[in-house]
């Protein structure tokens, strides 16, 4: 939300050079298999390639770490948040912002007090979709952060754990985990939307 909302505003309201390229980069997660995105992230950030050596020099490791997993699912899922919020911003007549600005309101004050109250439900919906997409991610995580060493333990993302379980134990071995994940996500969706509708 913090990254996607300002980015969505920029895309909705500004025209700049190479905007089409930026938009295409945002849409990559819906264009190609996520395994490919994972491979690109490894190429860009592993210790041997791309920005990896620089990040390692700063003590940041992207592979099989929590930060690597977060960056990966954020990029892969942010498309939904950005596009939902961008569409919502585009429905607001720019005259409303101009009116506010001429009354003495700065761009930030206008955004917070005029734009956000009109789009917060879209931001919330985009956040829900983004979260759900992150929970469902398998392909890129298999490549970038198959497991994460966190707080003295090796932690597997739920999706990877279920996939691994299926490979090792077959269908019967993962039914209960799959059902549990489905129920948890479904309940969160229903409760979230129930609350949103009443606000």
């Amino acid at each position: 939300m913090l990254v996607g909302t300002p980015f969505a505003y920029l895309l909705a309201r500004s025209e700049f050079r190479f905007k089409e390229v930026i938009e295409a980069i945002i849409d990559i997660p819906i264009m190609v298999p996520h395994v490919v995105v994972g491979i690109m992230i490894v190429l860009a950030f592993s210790s041997q390639y791309g920005l990896g050596p620089i990040l390692q020099g700063l003590g940041i490791n992207m592979i099989d770490t929590l930060i690597g997993a977060i960056v990966t699912v954020t990029y892969l899922s942010a498309t939904y948040s950005i596009r939902v919020t961008e569409t919502s911003i585009k429905t607001i007549n720019p005259d409303i912002e101009l009116t506010a600005r001429t009354l003495g309101s700065s761009p930030a004050f206008t955004f917070i007090h005029v734009i956000v109250p009109r789009i917060w439900k879209s931001i919330a919906n985009g956040a829900l979709l983004t979260w759900a997409r992150a929970v469902a991610e398998v392909g890129a995580l298999l490549v970038v952060a198959y497991y994460v060493y966190f707080n003295g333990n090796d932690v597997y993302p739920a999706s990877i754990y279920i996939y691994e379980g299926f490979q090792a134990l077959g269908l019967a071995g993962v039914v209960k985990y799959s059902a549990a994940l489905l129920v948890i996500v479904l309940v969160i969706f229903i409760v979230y939307r129930f609350i949103l509708k009443r606000l």
Binding site: N93, I96, R101, T102, L103, G104
Partner: protein, 352 residues
């Protein structure tokens, strides 16, 4: 001169503002009139700071504000649509600009009380904007703009969303603003009667270019261009050749009809007549012709009839209904035939 636009050029896609130069005085009510997509709103938004001109300058009190952001111009813009700041109520909307400027609460309350009293909307303060009528919304928009004490007020077609019943009271309100608040108003519209009612000066815009500036009487009675004449209600504009006479000129129209005018002019011209100046008659003097009614429209003040005279149509406003097909005689007073040189001609008014 409070506001000066000096040679403003601006390109937006395929549209261009071309060397727009305008001056607006303190307490002046300037109306920019033009057809749809002629550039009038673009000028207003450029003054407000939404667009940055590619060249030219905007000055307020001699200070260059061309590159300043909207919030630092002291110019309030009231858009064509009612731009309510949801989910604030009317008080919150009016208070918005003061809050954005960091005005303390007690002062805000005092300023709001003053402006809502002026505009007669004290009873609306706790209402939500969505529950307001068009006229109420417009008053709230004006209150929200005026409470910030702008140096200039910009109005983008402020009467376009208002029912005819309310229009009169809003026009009265708008007309009082320059003197009451000691600011100039720049108002854009395509409605010529609205411009005529309100303006102390009128600028006519076409295709991004100001083609004429003048006081309302000059613009409406003696427009200098064909486009202005069309815009300000000359229904009948017929091309012809003018020749000088002792008392003015005679214009021979393309169908052979001869119209006499008091204006002295030679060459290729447009003879322009307002419908309200054409009279039904029985006489046979100058500018008296017989024709057939080919169409009739109901108007607020009578009937607008279209009369075909030797395959040229004239429009007249009459008090009573005339059936289509009726043969009528009309007279066009010589001093009601206004003549404009055709653009391609070298016809030049000699006087008057």
């Amino acid at each position: 001169m409070l506001l000066q636009l000096l040679n403003i050029n601006l390109t937006l896609g395929n549209f261009k503002l071309n060397s727009v130069t305008l001056n607006v005085d303190q307490q002046e009510y300037l109306i920019i009139i033009g057809r749809t997509a002629s550039g009038k709103t673009t000028i207003l938004k450029t003054i407000a700071g939404a667009y940055r001109p590619s060249s030219g300058k905007i000055l307020i009190d001699g200070s260059d504000i061309t590159t300043l952001p909207p919030e630092r111009r002291s110019i309030a813009y009231v858009s064509q649509i009612f731009s309510s700041f949801d989910p604030m109520n009317v008080r919150g909307n009016i208070e918005f600009g003061l809050r954005a400027r960091g005005v303390p609460k007690p002062e805000r309350t005092q300023l709001i009380n003053g402006v809502v009293k002026d505009l007669g909307i004290e009873h609306l303060l706790d209402r939500m904007p969505v529950t307001l009528s068009g006229g109420e919304q417009q008053r709230v928009s004006l209150a929200r703009a005026l409470v910030t004490s702008p140096k200039i007020l910009l109005l983008d077609e402020p009467l376009s969303m208002i029912d005819p019943e309310t229009k009169g009271s809003i026009i009265r309100l708008l007309k009082a603003i320059p003197e009451k608040y000691n600011i100039p108003v720049v108002h854009v519209t395509h409605e010529w009667d609205e411009a005529y009612s309100l303006a102390s000066r009128i600028a006519v815009i076409n295709q991004g270019r100001i083609i004429e500036v003048g006081d309302p009487e000059q613009i409406f009675n003696e427009p200098r261009s064909y486009l202005t004449a069309k815009l300000v209600g000359f229904y009948d504009m017929h091309k012809g050749d003018a020749t000088l006479t002792d008392s003015g000129s005679t214009i021979k129209l393309e169908n052979g009809l001869e119209l006499k005018s008091r204006m002295k002019i030679n060459g290729s011209v447009y003879a322009c007549v307002r419908p309200e100046r054409i009279k039904l008659s029985t006489g046979d003097g100058f500018n008296t012709f017989e024709g057939r009614v080919v169409d009739v429209f109901r108007e607020r003040f009578g009937f607008r009839i279209i009369i075909n005279i030797k395959n040229i149509e004239f429009t007249a406003l009459v008090g009573s209904m005339l059936p289509r097909g009726d043969v009528v005689t009309i007279t066009i007073p010589e001093d009601s035939v206004y003549v404009i040189p055709a653009p391609e001609s070298n016809g030049v008014p000699i006087n008057g």
